[in-house]
């Protein structure tokens, strides 16, 4: 590097230097980076433990340069509970998709939150089951066509999308619950700050912290990366409003 140059952007040290398996336009890569930046900023890479879930993000250990346990489908908050009880000074986070967290793992996330487990949960909501081929998720929007709702989600038969950030905010054990998105640079910055906050609260032992991230799945939405990115802001945010739904550290 020349004497007048300085590094302004580089790979976080908590991320490995590996090629991605995620599809073009998928937001997992962005969210991985934000999580890694939070770990780096808090300087906790050596004591951070990731809990992988079943879905596109199962290969957490291929991307993060940390210790990782792989949980069965939906069980990451329970696995995280076990890990955290053995290593109370570690920083434990789960990284889950919407099928994993909001369908098969509904019981585990609600009770981990309600117990106030000192873990951080990152929830990527892209309104579909990505890995298994774009089936209907609990977060699929009304009318949305998926491979198992080929006529569009009919709320009279299939119910309504679940707003998890709001749901968890109602529980006594939840210390922090927020929804962010990563479809514009400004929102990526905001999402990064929110994820950092959710990790920081764990480090400070302030309680269970949850961040829902609205992201795109162009492959299963049948859209280009740009179209999919636009859908996050145009369609998803109407049903899933961004915001902080609970923060026990907020003043006033």
């Amino acid at each position: 590097m020349a004497p007048n140059e300085q590094t302004v952007f580089q790979r976080p040290s908590s991320l490995k230097e590996v090629p991605t398996h995620y599809c073009a336009g998928c937001h997992h890569g962005t969210v991985h980076r934000l999580v890694a930046e939070a770990i780096d900023l808090l300087d906790v890479q050596q004591q951070t433990i990731g809990i992988g879930s079943v879905g596109c993000s199962v290969l957490l250990y291929d991307y993060f340069d940390i210790d990782v346990v792989e949980a069965p489908h939906g069980r990451a908050p329970a696995v995280g509970t076990g890990v955290k009880r053995v290593h109370p000074d570690s920083v434990v986070f789960t990284y889950q998709g919407d099928g994993d967290l909001a369908a098969i793992g509904t019981a585990e996330i609600i009770h981990a939150a309600n117990r106030g487990e000192l873990i951080t949960v990152i929830f990527l909501n892209n309104t579909t089951y990505g890995m298994t081929g774009g089936q209907m998720a609990p977060t699929t929007l009304p009318g949305q066509v998926t491979t198992t709702s080929p006529y569009g989600r009919d709320v009279t038969k299939e119910g309504y999308p679940i707003r998890v950030a709001e749901l968890l905010a109602m529980l006594g054990g939840t210390a922090f619950s927020a929804r962010v998105a990563v479809d514009t640079p400004k929102r990526v910055m905001e999402a990064g700050r929110t994820i950092l906050k959710a990790f920081e609260m764990q480090v400070k032992k302030q309680g269970f912290a949850f961040v829902e991230v609205l992201g795109a799945c162009p492959t299963n939405w049948g859209m280009s990366a740009i179209e999919a990115n636009e859908r996050v802001g145009k369609e998803m945010m109407d049903y899933f409003p961004l915001g902080v739904y609970k923060d026990i550290t907020a003043s006033g």
């Binding site: 890479q45 050596q46 004591q47 951070t48 433990i49 809990i51 992988g52 199962v58 290969l59 250990y61 993060f64 340069d65 940390i66 210790d67 990782v68 346990v69 792989e70 949980a71 069965p72 069980r75 329970a78 696995v79 995280g80 509970t81 076990g82 890990v83 955290k84 009880r85 053995v86 290593h87 570690s90 920083v91 019981a107 585990e108 609600i110 009770h111 117990r115």
Partner: protein, 355 residues
């Protein structure tokens, strides 16, 4: 004289676990094993341990997975219907080689079944219960003392082989009280270090991953052969059984766990009548003590297998005996009013002894 305590079987399991250094317990209430979580909720805080009553058996076994992956000595306990729910987690733990102890105080089934004595879960225990083809170590105590001793052993075997171990009791053993001689647990000095455990990298060059997903070419097959080799090693090194009176036996009885208690009394009655009856009691039902069946039946071909189910272990007995052996079965499936007394087994001995 050594201190003797009058202890309920379920509490002996919990006492053995604490003595063996178990400091994490995750469970969910189910009859007839509730004394175990109740004991743990009371005693764990006194030794600085962790007790969590989970929202479900599914959550409990996954907390066990997490704590075991993190290197802790961890246990859960349940009964048949709850063990069914734990099957998913047990498969993941077997696949990702997470040591832990799972206790099944059996009750009769299928479905909700009942809450009293049965050995209906033999298949579930030794054939894996969950998906994917795996084994647990399965220990089958037949007394309160053995519930205590074998629970301790289960922790050591689990850690030695990086495998979940099951203690397979039943409602008779769990709910009865008898004398127990407590003793200090001697942690084996040669247990391998848990350098694979998830602790946070803590300066290690590479992060540890505890996982069961293998997608690269040939990787999963290699992993399955590795697990298979472990099961072969268990068969070779960790098979345990009790054999009594095989020297002069004309008829060999075989039974495990609670059934073996009834059989032992019936054998004493038969011996009193001059009938030459021996016993093989597997203590490990996985690995199954096949060799003793083969050698014993080469000399004494007639075997009567007695179980508190409709015939489960008898299949392993038939696979183990000398090709010329004559294996017979007597069992009752459990449920209220379905527990044979020693006289009933004695009558079976008399019948099979003659023809």
């Amino acid at each position: 004289m050594k201190k003797r305590l009058f202890v309920k079987g379920n509490e002996a399991v919990a006492m053995g676990a604490l003595e063996a250094g178990c400091r994490y317990y995750f469970g969910y209430p189910i009859t007839p094993q509730n004394d175990i979580p109740e004991f743990m909720s009371r005693e764990m805080p006194k030794v600085g341990g962790t007790f969590v009553q989970a929202e479900s058996e599914v959550a409990a076994i996954n907390m066990v997975l997490g704590a075991g992956a993190a290197g802790g000595r961890v246990m859960t306990s349940s009964s048949g219907p709850g063990i069914s729910l734990k099957a998913e987690g047990m498969s993941f733990m077997a696949g990702s080689e997470v040591p832990a102890v799972i206790v099944n105080i059996q009750r009769p089934g299928p479905g909700l079944g009942g809450i009293d004595v049965s050995q209906a879960d033999y298949f579930q225990a030794v054939k894996g219960a969950g998906h994917g083809g795996y084994h647990l170590i399965v220990l089958a105590p037949h007394s309160v003392q053995e519930l205590y001793d074998l629970t301790m052993l289960a922790f050591d075997l689990a850690d030695r082989y990086r495998i979940p171990a099951m203690v397979l009791g039943d409602a008779m053993l769990g709910q009865m009280k008898e004398a127990l001689v407590p003793h200090a647990h001697q942690l084996p000095e040669d247990l391998p270090p848990k350098d694979w455990a998830i602790t946070g990298k803590g300066g290690r060059a590479k992060g540890n991953a505890v996982k069961s997903l293998y997608l690269a070419d040939g990787e999963l097959e290699a992993h399955n052969w590795h697990l298979h080799a472990k099961y072969a090693q268990l068969k070779e090194k960790e098979t345990r059984f009790e054999a009594v009176g095989l020297e002069d036996a004309e008829l060999i009885l075989t039974a495990f766990g609670g059934a073996a208690r009834i059989v032992k009394t019936a054998i004493a009655m038969a011996r009193k009548e001059g009938l030459k009856v021996g016993l093989i009691r597997p203590i490990t039902v996985f690995p199954f003590p096949a060799e003793i069946y083969r050698t014993a039946t080469a000399k004494t071909p007639k075997v009567l297998c007695v179980e508190l189910n409709n015939g489960q272990m008898v299949e392993d007995v038939r696979l183990s005996v000398d090709p010329m052996a004559d294996v017979r079965f007597y069992g009752r499936p459990g449920g209220t009013g379905s527990l044979p007394d020693p006289e009933e087994i004695f009558a079976q001995i008399c019948k099979h002894y003659k023809d």
